[in-house]
Amino acid sequence: MAARLPAIFKTTATRLSALYLLLFALCAAILVFYTTSLSVRMLTGQLQETISDEMPVLGRAYQRGGLPLLVRFVEQRSRQPGANLYLLADPQGRILAGNVEALQPGVLDIEGWTGSPFLYTRFDTAGEEIDEDRHRAVAYVMRLPNQMILLVGRDLGEAERLRTVMRQALMLALGFMGLGALIIWYVVGRRALKRIDQVSDAGRRIMAGDLSGRLPVSGTGDEFDRLSENLNAMLERIASLNEGLKQVSDNIAHDLKTPLTRMRNRAEAALAGNKGSAEYRKALETTIAEADQLIRTFNAILMISRLEAGYSAEQTAQIDLAAIIADVVELYEPLAEESGVQLTSAAPPRAPVTGNRELVGQALSNVIDNAIKYSQGEGRDAKVSVELSQGTGWRIDVADNGPGIPEADHNRATERFVRLEDSRSQPGSGLGLSLAKAIMGFHGGRLELTSRDPGICVSMVFPEDKAKK
């Protein structure tokens, strides 16, 4: 059933509007009905009172002057403007006098108040016009001692008019309510729900595979905009994770396939021909070394992915950046010296941040490793300086005076596997800076690259430590 309803009836707006309309109409109907019946009853009561006042007068007239006086009374009163209804009939119900021309049959048969309003036709003696319309009236019927029937009544015109006015009021109210319902339907349905529809349409498009699609934002800053903005931010995150995943699989395909192929070829070449055990040994050792490098690359990829997947407070504690710098610089100092690079560091005695010592240590070691690797060169006075300073948060600047990285390549340098041209001859997985960047991201900070003349400065920028304040 519901499925076969036109689409418009399935919207919340239409349902809501219909419900409101129904509810208001019901209330209005009850109100009007109640008011009308109350007023009509009150009016009827008044009429009956007027009639009751009349009866004794007529009764006395009959007692005093008999039938002729009564007839005169009735004729006289009938002619007055706005007169009551008067009727004198013989025992058989034939009309003798009064201003009633015809009556609904049966009215005269029962003495006392007519139970319900009856129909009659008025005979207007005053204007000599015959009123063709049948009216409704209430009346009191009395049988005179000589079996003649006397009826005194009152037209219900006033009550009828009241009822009509009320009914018109009800119709008007209904009209307004209908209009109101339409407005509600328009406002809620055409505008608000249309936007929800837009959101769900966009959602469907995105689910269908268009991950670059975004939800519409109207710019009014209302709750729909906020919803859309949040969903967009979520999509942005999903897209970047997805992009990362794609990149990883692409890079795995490219960068792991090459060493795997090389390894396989080497093993094959070692098997071919007759070789001594020393040669076999050498081939196997190379194979192991290459496998180790592959494992290392793999671990780095996994680690980056996990770090990018999210932050876990359990893995962090209060750590001292100054101590980490001291450790890592001390670790690299011999290597720097051997490479002919002067490694210096400057740091305040203590620099507490919330973080993971292992990860920060690893990031710093990667950055320093890179700096040493790329600044070393023959005949140059190579220098790498590590400096810890505090701005809004702590930052570690690792600057070298090597060839640097062209400004345009700064972003690419921290991408996975990117090893800028002319650095391909250097050892390493090409993941060092990407891992450092992922680690800084994990800490809510960032990795900044700025060109120095000469060289480049890689900065590990930590966020302001909120726990301290």
Binding site: N299, M303, S312, Q315, E358, L359
Partner: protein, 224 residues
Amino acid sequence: MKLLIIEDDREAADYLEKALTEAGHTAHLARDGETGYMLASDGEYDVLIVDRMLPKRDGLSVIAALRAKGIDTAVLILSALGEVDDRVTGLRAGGDDYLTKPYAFSELLARIEVLSRRKGRADIETVYRAGDLELDRLSHTVRRAGQEIVLQPREFRLLEYMMRHAGQVVTRTMLLENVWDYHFDPQTNVIDVHISRLRSKIEKGFDKPVLHTIRGAGYMLKAG
């Protein structure tokens, strides 16, 4: 050395068993946590090699149960989970060392050998000796053939660790872990440079080398 491997991956377990046997150890195999726990609960083994994810009973719960029972056999945890806090949870559960898969067998072997002598006299001794090399842990002095050698604090700790495990292979990662207290994988040959510096200090002017490079594995301090 008597070893128990608790590992459900048949191929990995068989390889380990074979390789450890070839290395001169007695290796037993348990393919699920429950069996592993039963075999290990008499405390007869020197080192347990425990995988974290096991059928019937997971590795960490096996270790915790053994520790609760008072069995203090050294445990090396093997895990495919390599996240930063996995190591911490592993060690907190009662493991003595942690190795992430995939690993080099030489790394595993070196660690097992170090673990087996974990609770030896070395911890109590104040002076380590290897041939004519002598390290005094209290006065922080190093002598070779009675001649004092001045070392930097880190070099001293490096030598101290090497001497404590004299005759055993120590890998680069083990050195980084125990001397520098960092668990990441050094990308380049940083450790090698430290070793060669130390070597030049303790071997210069002496005939016999004491610090040997073990190809494909690491280093070994051995006199004579």
